[in-house]
């Protein structure tokens, strides 16, 4: 039925420069990377101190915390679900780990494992309720956001857990290279591993299939239940890790750890081209998206813009980024056939509406 098909299936045998350029722009992450570079150049132009060693280090350290969660969120979004409770989970896991190592005097490694276990367990609960009982992820994880906030207060009585064992404080202050904390090292390693899994493994391919169309995935023999629940557990565990890194950084089990992260994480990965509808997006995109939001927040501070404007900037950027991404897809990735398809879609909207 698609007579436009020959137009798109036919391609010149030797790619011209123009075609090569188009296919380059068509790579998902190019747009957001270009935007990131532009923003960096802009802030540097406005205030050269933006690219000072100290500021770069500060940005990267902050990015590493939410970035660790963004990796999990990207995987979960690819699998077709999302999690709004990541900030609460980070907080709960951190304060529980803090209590385990202080009030219960557990050895530090065991307490850290305990904190990760809490995160993974919450992820498991989210996953089972969403996948098995078919409660929408929005509802379940929003509920878990509140439950987590309550648990933080219950566990701590409202006061920061302080002081932490010396190993934790030392670890929080130590650096692995260029003055960057261990959280950054973990973030980079986790991103590389997750990227490899998504792009190169059977597991990754099956995750994309599950997010793209769960029924098709089931029909080709993929156990979508396991994949989705596994993705929820991954997000939970990674949120716990991020929360505990912040705890070590602050040298205190503060009750505000993770507060408000859920939205910045989702905004960031979406800016990076990860689809809210499942089945599309890459780790590189998600990570660069988060980096971009943090660059904007920091840049506005450095050039002396009122902090209230930061929030506005994040909102504008998110809508702009996703809007531009949709336009880019329409014009580059897909060419004439898609334009026809898009036209058909808009027609069906008008005729069906």
């Amino acid at each position: 039925m698609n007579s436009a098909a020959p137009a798109t299936t036919e391609q010149p045998t030797t790619p011209s420069l123009r075609n090569r350029l188009i296919s380059f722009i068509a790579i998902g992450e190019v747009g957001v990377i270009a935007a990131l570079l532009l923003l960096v150049a802009f802030f540097y132009f406005m205030q050269p101190a933006f690219l000072s060693e100290r500021n770069i280090r500060a940005i990267l350290n902050v990015v590493s915390f939410v970035g660790i969660i963004a990796i999990g969120q990207t995987i979960l979004l690819v699998a077709g679900e999302f999690d709004l409770s990541v900030g609460s989970v980070a907080g709960v896991s951190a304060v529980i780990a803090a209590q385990l190592m202080t009030a219960l005097a557990w050895p530090v490694p065991l307490a850290i494992l305990g904190g990760m276990g809490v995160g993974a367990l919450i992820g498991l609960i989210n996953g089972i309720i969403v996948v098995k009982f078919r409660i929408p992820a929005f509802i379940q994880t929003l509920g878990m956001l509140f439950i987590g906030q309550g648990l933080i207060q219950l566990v701590t009585g409202g006061y920061p857990v302080y002081p932490l064992p010396k190993e934790v404080s030392d670890f929080g202050m130590s650096t692995f290279a260029f003055g960057l904390g261990w959280s950054f090292a973990f973030f980079i390693v986790a991103a590389i591993v997750a990227d490899f899994v998504l792009r190169r493994t059977v597991l990754g391919r099956n995750l994309y299939a599950t997010g793209g169309n769960p029924e098709v995935a089931r029909l080709v023999g993929i156990n979508t239940t396991i994949y989705k629940i596994g993705a929820f557990i991954t997000v939970g565990a990674l949120s716990a890790v991020a929360g505990m890194f912040v705890m070590a950084d602050l040298q205190s089990g503060t009750t505000s750890i993770g507060s408000g992260w859920e939205l910045i994480v989702i905004a960031g990965v979406v800016v990076g081209g990860v689809s809210l509808f499942g089945g599309a997006g890459t780790i590189a995109g998600g990570v660069v998206g988060i980096l971009m939001l943090k660059v904007v927040q920091s840049g506005l501070v450095v050039i002396g813009v009122n902090s209230n404007w930061q929030q506005i900037a994040v909102g504008v950027i998110m809508v702009l980024a996703v809007g531009l991404d949709i336009l880019r897809r329409r014009y580059f990735t897909v060419g004439a056939g898609a334009k026809a398809a898009a036209a058909k879609k808009s027609d069906s909207k008008t005729s069906g509406a």
Partner: protein
């Protein structure tokens, strides 16, 4: 007689490829004009030009409506000028009433900003009466069958009193009786003086209701035929450019082959909305045999396949090659050597977020990977081999599946299910929405697979297909097998009689 709606010298190219190379198309007032052609012949492109999806300026040539030259900038402009269009896919607002659907988005009702429900309902009732339908305007569309929804879309197009009504494959998802009912509606509209363009793949419908026909091939008009020239052979010749000797390749059921698939006392609960699932169905298929399931839409044909494949919970026993298999999920069925090609390519077949290549290998990656990692080289060669074997035409394995024609999409899905070399292949409407050439390829493939010893079950709404392709035909009605006969032991009349008898029996049992 001057045409009421005509296109002259239409030329349209996409990225350098000529889709239409100077097409003249003339529709006379009051007629039903068939527009035919294979996929890629330029049919959809012409339709999209006529209904404004491809705006004026994106093609050359001229269009006149009632003697006046027109140029449509958008589908809305075409609608406003009097070109009604009923798309192939059902697009309704499920939670609204029939009346609200019929008038949704139509401006200029002369009511101001307020909507008076009873007026909408009265006007809808008038349109439905004209169509000879008894659908309640107050009914919520979600409660209607898909055939009724299609009629609501036709009513919607008629609400604007179009000069010309274009119907894009209106029978693609209808069963036999529903098709007859729809054709009756079209005859009725014709008596009321409505001019219609009927876009279809199905020749019998053209022969049944159309007055004239235009056949496109390779972007040109291959034939313009009047009713007196209508002959199936002539259409096929015009569409394909060659005379098709035999539509179905010959195949004989192997004698004394062992049963590859045995289904015993299979029962499947009906979906909410569908009345019957499957009730105590037993049959077997030998290695190398093609068995067809004939019956009306909703008779339980698809449910039987879904039950065997573990897509829906089922009771009963399924044996593959003599071995009873516990099938709790499609995965169990797949591991036992069963494969299913689903009816709805877009909903249950293709993964639109993955490219052509990954769509073929999804679910089949184990032999193409080592320690969980996909081996890019092995995967690529497997994909290219599968695309070559099944003649899937795509620019590359990285191409998007959304751009493939229906026929190529279907061949891609065949490539996917065949990658595991199944022992049992269940095909649900394998040629639905597929052009004549691909249809031939699929028939040849089915016979080839049977010759290799695969046991095949084919569900089709086209009786001709079941009777021509299959060695044995099981007639399904109300979720039961009501008749079984071998190739040559009966024709379409036998199937229809068996269905009618079963329905009569059900009615008797109910009263």
């Amino acid at each position: 007689m001057d045409p009421i709606f005509s296109a002259r010298g239409i030329v349209k190219a996409f990225a350098g490829v000529q889709a239409l190379r100077g097409v003249d198309f003339n529709v006379l007032a009051g007629e039903i004009h068939a527009l035919l052609g294979q996929n890629g012949a330029g049919k959809s492109t012409l339709v999209k030009i006529l209904n404004g999806v491809h705006p004026a300026g994106s093609y050359t040539g001229e269009i006149t409506l009632a003697g006046q030259p027109v140029s449509f900038a958008s589908p809305a402009a075409a609608r406003a000028a009097g070109v009604g269009y009923v798309p192939q896919e059902i697009e309704v607002l499920e939670q609204l009433s029939v009346a609200e659907n019929v008038f949704a988005g139509h401006t200029g009702l002369g009511e101001g900003v307020l909507i008076y429900r009873h007026k909408l309902e009265d006007r809808t009732r008038a349109i439905l009466d004209d169509l000879g339908l008894t659908i309640d305007p107050k009914a919520i569309v979600a409660s209607l069958t898909s055939a009724q929804r299609h009629l609501v879309m036709i009513a919607r197009a008629l609400a604007l009193k179009p000069r010309v009504l274009m119907l894009d494959e209106p029978t693609a998802s209808l069963s036999g009786t529903e098709v007859d009912a729809l054709l009756e509606v079209l005859r009725r509209l014709k008596r009321q003086g409505v001019t219609m363009i009927y876009i279809t793949h199905r020749l019998p419908e053209v022969l049944a209701v159309c007055d004239r026909a235009t056949v496109l091939r390779d972007g040109r008009v291959a034939a313009e035929l009047g009713r007196e020239e209508f002959e199936e052979d002539r259409f096929i010749f015009a569409m394909s450019g060659q005379r098709l000797q035999k539509l179905f390749p010959p195949h004989e059921a192997p004698v004394g082959a062992r049963p590859m698939l045995a289904v015993e006392h299979l029962s499947v609960a009906g979906k909410p909305g569908a009345i019957y699932g499957a009730r105590d169905v037993s049959f077997s298929v030998a290695a190398g045999e093609i068995v067809g399931l004939a019956g009306l839409l909703g008779s339980g044909r698809s449910e039987i396949l879904h039950g065997i494949f573990g897509r829906v919970p089922a009771e009963g026993t399924v044996k593959v090659d003599g071995q009873a298999i516990a099938i709790r999920s499609p995965r169990d069925a797949r591991d036992a050597g069963i494969a299913l090609l689903t009816e709805d390519r877009k909903r249950d077949g293709l993964l639109f977020n993955l490219p052509v290549g990954a769509n073929i290998t999804i679910g089949n990656l184990d032999p193409l990977s080592a320690r969980g990692m996909v081996r890019g080289d092995r995967e690529r060669s497997a994909i290219l081999e599968a695309m070559r074997q099944l003649n899937v035409k795509a620019s590359s394995p990285q191409a998007s599946v959304a751009h493939l024609s229906g026929g190529n999409q279907q061949k891609l899905l065949f490539a996917r299910v065949l990658m595991r070399a199944p022992k049992v292949l269940l095909l649900d409407e394998p040629t639905k929405g597929v052009d004549a050439a691909t249809r031939q390829e699929i028939y040849r493939l089915v016979v080839e697979l049977a010759n290799k010893g695969v046991a095949l079950v084919v569900v089709s709404s086209e009786l001709e297909e079941v009777l021509g392709l299959c060695d044995r035909c099981l007639t399904i009605a109300d979720g039961r097998i009501v008749d079984t006969f071998k190739r040559g032991e009966g024709g379409e009349d036998r199937v229809l009689r068996a269905v009618a008898a079963a329905q009569a029996e059900t009615v008797r049992a109910a009263s």
